[in-house]
């Protein structure tokens, strides 16, 4: 006769299990490992594991001179490469008390804003793709190619140009630059309406993003979430308004703030920011003064002893450079305040009690670039 063994029956739905959204994953936007504790489909806990693209850039900067560091800061947040370079250039110019010609400031501001539009176009195309709308991928990259054409004509390469240098630019812009930028603005103003038609008004997208991933304003400030992600929660953190640099104090633009704090608010902030960037470019493109493309600089740059900090508004948040100098031609310590690092620290908090499918939408709306996290 068989014996019946009574085993305690565990309720499987109540157990938590861990899944690994590993370093190689189509929607983690790079090499980020997320260990997610789930109960059914609800996310209970999330631990990001970084370091899979940690290249030791801060240590490398201690052995490189300041113009060489520009090539390394390019590769930090490669989608707003010019803005990162701008921070280092402004820091060196402030420390050496060099006044750059007006032409440089105009050109740098225009190129920064073009870079911001290009970065937001790439964000839009990957956000749409993550939600399942593959058309967005092709539309966004098609329009981004126009900006890359402008860059290629003036600077020589499509991505990672290292165009700014302490004191100015490495070479002057192409004579066609002004005309091509104006043509692009005319073209893109029409196309951005298509973006709204495809994705913003789409009922599936709105259901998947409204009310998802709430981040309150106090949490945004406490976690240091800046940029469009912070402004979607009502945190007024635009460095271009509060600590203006280059030509930002002379142009009129709005700081876009939404107060709902959900994924849809972060999405709308970026869509409006693209339009604001075009407004800034239009105000500057016709008035570029003539002049030199670089100020007179010494061959070897040695910063005076002391500490310096420079903040700029990158496409993803506030980018800061902190330099401790001991008088040599290489910095003693160079620290990058990376916006994506702080944005990622809020991911655990805002994705709790949401579904795992929402995690992909939240990650897309925070828009992190992993090499900037890991440096």
């Amino acid at each position: 006769m068989k014996e019946v063994i009574n085993l305690p029956v565990k309720n499987i739905e109540e157990e938590e299990y861990h899944i690994n959204m590993g370093p190689q994953h189509p929607s983690t936007h790079g090499v980020l490992r997320l260990v997610v504790s789930l109960q059914g489909e609800i996310v209970k806990n999330l631990k990001p594991h970084c370091g899979y693209i940690h290249r030791g850039i801060e240590k490398m900067c201690e052995k490189n001179t300041y113009p060489q560091i520009i090539h390394l800061t390019d590769r930090l947040d490669y989608l707003s490469a010019h803005i990162n370079n701008h921070a280092v250039c402004l820091l060196v110019e402030k420390a050496l008390e060099i006044e750059v010609p007006e032409r440089i400031k105009y050109i740098r501001t225009i190129i920064d804003e073009l870079n911001r539009i290009a970065s937001h176009q790439l964000w839009w195309c990957s956000f749409g793709m993550d939600l399942g709308g593959l058309t967005c991928f092709f539309y966004g990259l098609r329009d981004r190619e126009h900006i890359l054409d402008i860059f290629e004509e003036s600077f020589g390469s499509r991505l990672l140009h290292s165009y700014y240098t302490p004191g100015g630019l490495i070479q002057d812009v192409h004579p066609n630059f002004q005309k091509r930028v104006k043509d692009f603005i005319k073209y893109f103003r029409k196309k951005i309406k298509d973006y709204d038609d495809i994705l913003t008004g789409n009922i599936i997208m709105q259901e998947r993003t409204k009310g998802i991933g709430l981040l309150t304003k106090e949490d945004a400030i406490s976690y240091g979430v800046t940029g469009p992600s912070g402004r979607g929660s009502g945190f007024s953190c635009d460095v271009r308004k509060h600590h203006p640099y280059s030509m930002y104090s002379n142009v009129e633009f709005n700081e876009i703030l939404f107060h709902e704090g959900d994924t849809f608010a972060r999405y709308m902030v970026r869509m409006h920011e693209m339009r604001e960037s075009m407004k800034i470019i239009e105000q500057l493109i016709d008035n570029i003064p003539a002049g030199d493309y670089t100020a007179k600089m010494k061959a070897v740059l040695k910063l005076p002893v002391g500490e310096y900090f420079q903040r700029v508004e990158a496409a993803r948040g506030e980018f800061g450079v902190y330099v401790v100098s001991d008088g040599n031609k290489t910095p003693y310590r160079m620290k990058f305040r990376s916006p994506n690092f702080s944005n990622l620290s809020a991911l655990d908090h805002i994705s709790r009690e949401g579904k795992i499918a929402d995690l992909v939408a939240i990650g897309g709306s925070l828009d992190y670039v992993i090499p900037d996290i890991d440096r």
Binding site: H54, E58, D219, Y322, R333
Partner: protein, 152 residues
């Protein structure tokens, strides 16, 4: 709040603080044991309201290890820099501020990983970028790596 009032108020809160001249922001060196209470005061007092910690870095000055906190207030828009120094290179330990500013969580893990400074009462004190079994702390000035790092 303008710079002179800020300077006087901080000095009145922590008499042992040392003010550094000629810096970009108002900079103080705070004794290690007073840092946490001062940080809590700076965040909670309405006249200061330093609620935004925008940079937490560690620096290895060979004689001592230094942690630099860059603070800003989102309402009053004044900025402050606090430095904490510890001469102990074997087992440096400082109180954490991640219960006051949540962004300090990841930043302190990074400082521990690259410079070796431990933070007391941190909820999750382990390495963030390098493998858990990595030997040494790379950003220290006495970090030796014959294979990879070229001495100028």
């Amino acid at each position: 709040m303008d710079n002179t009032t800020l300077k006087e108020k901080v000095l009145s809160l922590v008499p042992g603080a040392e003010f550094l001249e000629n810096k970009q922001y108002i900079t103080f060196i705070i004794p290690v044991e007073k840092m946490h209470d001062l940080a809590r005061n700076l965040k909670n007092e309405p006249e200061f309201n330093f609620d935004y910690l925008f940079c937490l870095s560690g620096v290895d000055m060979v004689k001592y290890l230094e942690i630099v906190y860059h603070l800003e207030s989102t309402t009053h828009r004044h900025e402050l820099v606090l430095k904490v120094r510890t001469a102990d290179r074997e087992n440096p330990a400082v109180d954490t501020v991640c219960d006051i500013w949540k962004t300090a969580d990841f930043h302190e893990r990074e400082v521990y990983d690259l410079l070796g400074i431990k933070f007391n009462h941190h909820p999750d004190m382990r390495r963030i970028f390098l493998d858990d079994d990595w030997k040494g702390h790379p950003l220290r000035k006495d970090y030796i790596d014959e294979v990879n790092i070229v001495e100028l």
